[in-house]
């Protein structure tokens, strides 16, 4: 049974300064890295003889419009089926430079997850063979999950956030 501390220490030893923000909210090891190292971190964990983090559970993104310089966060959920160990890796991106390398060479299933993230958030996965919209129609010229697009009609006075919260 792997512990979060043990895995975190191994990753720090291997990658040093490029991995940071180690945390374990609700017992799920979470850390951040930058986009230059995300592929090497994931492939290191995948090839590791003991950890064998060989299952990509999910890729998604989060938009934080108020945190300057870290407006976007791409979140990878990985799972080691051998050790029954899950972890979460985050890559923070600037709003004007939303490029991150693709992980399709490591996991074939990343294809549609990345397309979905592109569709909803506009994150560009460099090296993706077919980065098109997947859920929305091709003609759409915006990315709907960004926080600047309100769900409610602005002209509705009975549903304003000041009264009802977000």
């Amino acid at each position: 049974m792997l512990t979060n501390e043990e895995v975190a220490q191994t990753i720090i030893n291997q990658f040093g300064e490029t991995v940071s923000d180690f945390d374990d909210p609700y017992d799920l090891l979470t850390f951040s890295t930058d986009r230059d190292h995300i592929v090497s971190v994931i492939s290191y964990l995948k090839e590791h003889p003991v950890y064998k983090v060989g299952f990509l559970t999910d890729i998604t993104a989060v938009h934080y419009p108020d945190s300057t310089g870290k407006e976007f966060c791409v979140v990878y959920h990985l799972h080691s089926l051998t050790n029954n160990f899950r972890l979460r890796i985050k890559v923070y991106l600037q709003a004007d430079d939303v490029h991150v390398p693709t992980v399709i060479p490591l996991f074939a299933g990343a294809n549609w997850m990345e397309r979905e993230t592109f569709d909803l958030f506009g994150i560009i996965f460099d090296g993706h063979p077919d980065l098109r919209r997947i859920l929305n129609m091709e003609e759409m010229d915006y990315h709907p999950m960004l926080k600047q697009f309100p769900l409610e009609d602005d002209t509705r006075k009975d549903k304003i956030d000041a009264l009802f919260g977000r």
């Binding site: 609700y26 938009h63 959920h77 089926l81 996991f107 294809n111 549609w112 129609m137 409610e152 919260g165």
Partner: protein
């Protein structure tokens, strides 16, 4: 290829070789592929999604999927809704097993809030989730029968699905989009009628299932259609992010109920059936065996149903009984606060996974302490494994492609979310 065949046919029919057409120039023999649209509204796709197949005669050369026809932006809508209102969104993902989605969402929020659920509520949830799995697998396997030309099995087991829906109705009042349970427990205890109906189902269902299996398992026509059709290796399946029965059919014994037990699954004894080649037959057999295991779990849960309350002692999160609201000041306040979404959710991020009808159904919830999630992402198993479909039906015939699709159990609602 096609035009060559045609020419041979012409030659044989007339007995002598036809002269090449020369009115519009010489006939060009090009190896031309046919584009075939399977869907978006085709009865065999069981939902609205399109497959554009490139066919060489009867053989599929390549395929491309178009999805998103019923994309309803649940993740966006969820950012405007208090936690308890999101339950109704989860219903509409995998609508063949909505109670699993409902419970998965409740458990995610309970994990965020740190609420412990009493054993009785956990057992009731297990019963409902396993009933949902039964109805999900029934539909999948029944429709696989229909697509191979056997309608009888489908109609026969649909009666049992109807009985499962009657149990849902007894427990929560709804049948398809159930909105079952609450954050903090179940909305009401199992009624004596519900318990009677579940016990009746446990007696009747194994016989029906045996008869269904007798119709199919060693049926020559059925086996010819499904054995060695659409196989996938365990390695490829893992790379594609397969989960659930489709992964287990490929020989990987990954089941969230065993790996990360939730809602007291560790109390029950059951087996995980696995297949070998990951083909359509294995998927069919794994689902059938999982139904038997689900029955075992329900039997154990109903036999050992613990006494006690069916909801957690967390009045700030669990909607109080209505009669209390009329008489009790505190209940009225909590009722108002919960309905208005003013619960004190902590800041945090949670990933919680349950074993859905067709794989690991995950909820990634980020809360910033507001009344709604800051971000909610659904890991939909269908969406992730459906991308392997062109690879699985490459080189096979169109009729195989139909069978593979029904055996993969792709539910359009979950695919698009």
């Amino acid at each position: 290829m096609i035009s060559e065949d045609l020419n041979i046919a012409k030659k044989n029919a007339t007995g002598s070789e036809l002269p090449a057409r020369n009115d519009n120039g010489p006939v060009q023999y090009v190896n031309e592929l046919t584009t075939l649209n399977l869907g978006p509204t085709h009865p065999a796709t069981h939902g609205i999604f399109q497959n554009i197949l490139q066919m060489d005669g009867e053989k599929i050369v390549s395929g491309e999927q178009t999805i998103g026809y019923i994309h309803r932006a649940f993740e966006k809508i969820a950012e405007r809704r208090p936690f308890y209102q999101i339950t109704t969104l989860t219903d509409r993902m995998n609508y063949c097993s909505s109670p699993i989605n409902n419970m998965g969402w409740h458990m995610t929020v309970e994990k965020l809030l740190g609420v412990d659920i009493p054993k009785r509520a956990q057992y009731i949830r297990v019963i409902m989730m396993e009933l949902a799995r039964l109805s999900d697998h029934l539909i999948c396997n029944g429709i696989l029968g229909v697509d191979t030309g056997a309608f009888t099995g489908f109609l026969y087991i649909y009666q049992e699905r109807e009985n499962i829906y009657d149990i849902y109705e007894e427990v929560c009042g709804a049948r398809l989009t159930t909105n079952m349970g609450r954050i903090g427990g179940m909305e009401r205890d199992l009624s004596p009628t519900a318990i009677r109906k579940i016990k009746e189902l446990l007696v009747r269902f194994p016989k029906v299932l045996t008869e269904f299996e007798n119709l199919f398992n060693r049926n020559r026509i059925f086996m010819d259609r499904v054995v060695n059709v659409g196989g996938i290796t365990a390695e490829r399946a893992l790379s594609y992010g397969f989960t659930g029965p489709n992964l287990r059919a490929a020989g990987v014994d990954y089941d969230v109920r065993v790996m990360n037990p939730y809602s007291s699954y560790q109390d029950f004894e059951f087996d995980i059936p696995v297949g070998q080649s990951g083909d359509t037959y294995d998927r069919f057999m794994v689902r059938n065996e999982e139904m038997r295991q689900s029955l075992r779990i329900i039997q154990q849960a109903i036999d050992n149903l613990p006494e006690g309350p069916h909801y957690a002692d967390a009045p700030q999160y669990y909607l109080p009984p209505k009669q209390e609201v009329y008489k009790n000041m505190e209940a009225l306040i909590y009722h108002f606060k919960i309905v208005m979404g003013e619960i004190d959710a902590p800041v945090g991020e949670v990933y919680h996974a349950v074993e859905g009808g067709n794989g690991e159904l995950g909820f990634y919830l980020i809360s910033d302490g507001g009344r709604t999630p800051y971000r909610l992402h659904f890991r939909r198993p269908c969406f992730i494994y459906y991308q392997a479909y062109p690879e699985m039906c490459k080189g096979l015939t169109l009729s195989d492609a139909i069978v593979i699709m029904s055996s993969m159990n792709v539910i359009a609602g979950e695919l698009d979310a």
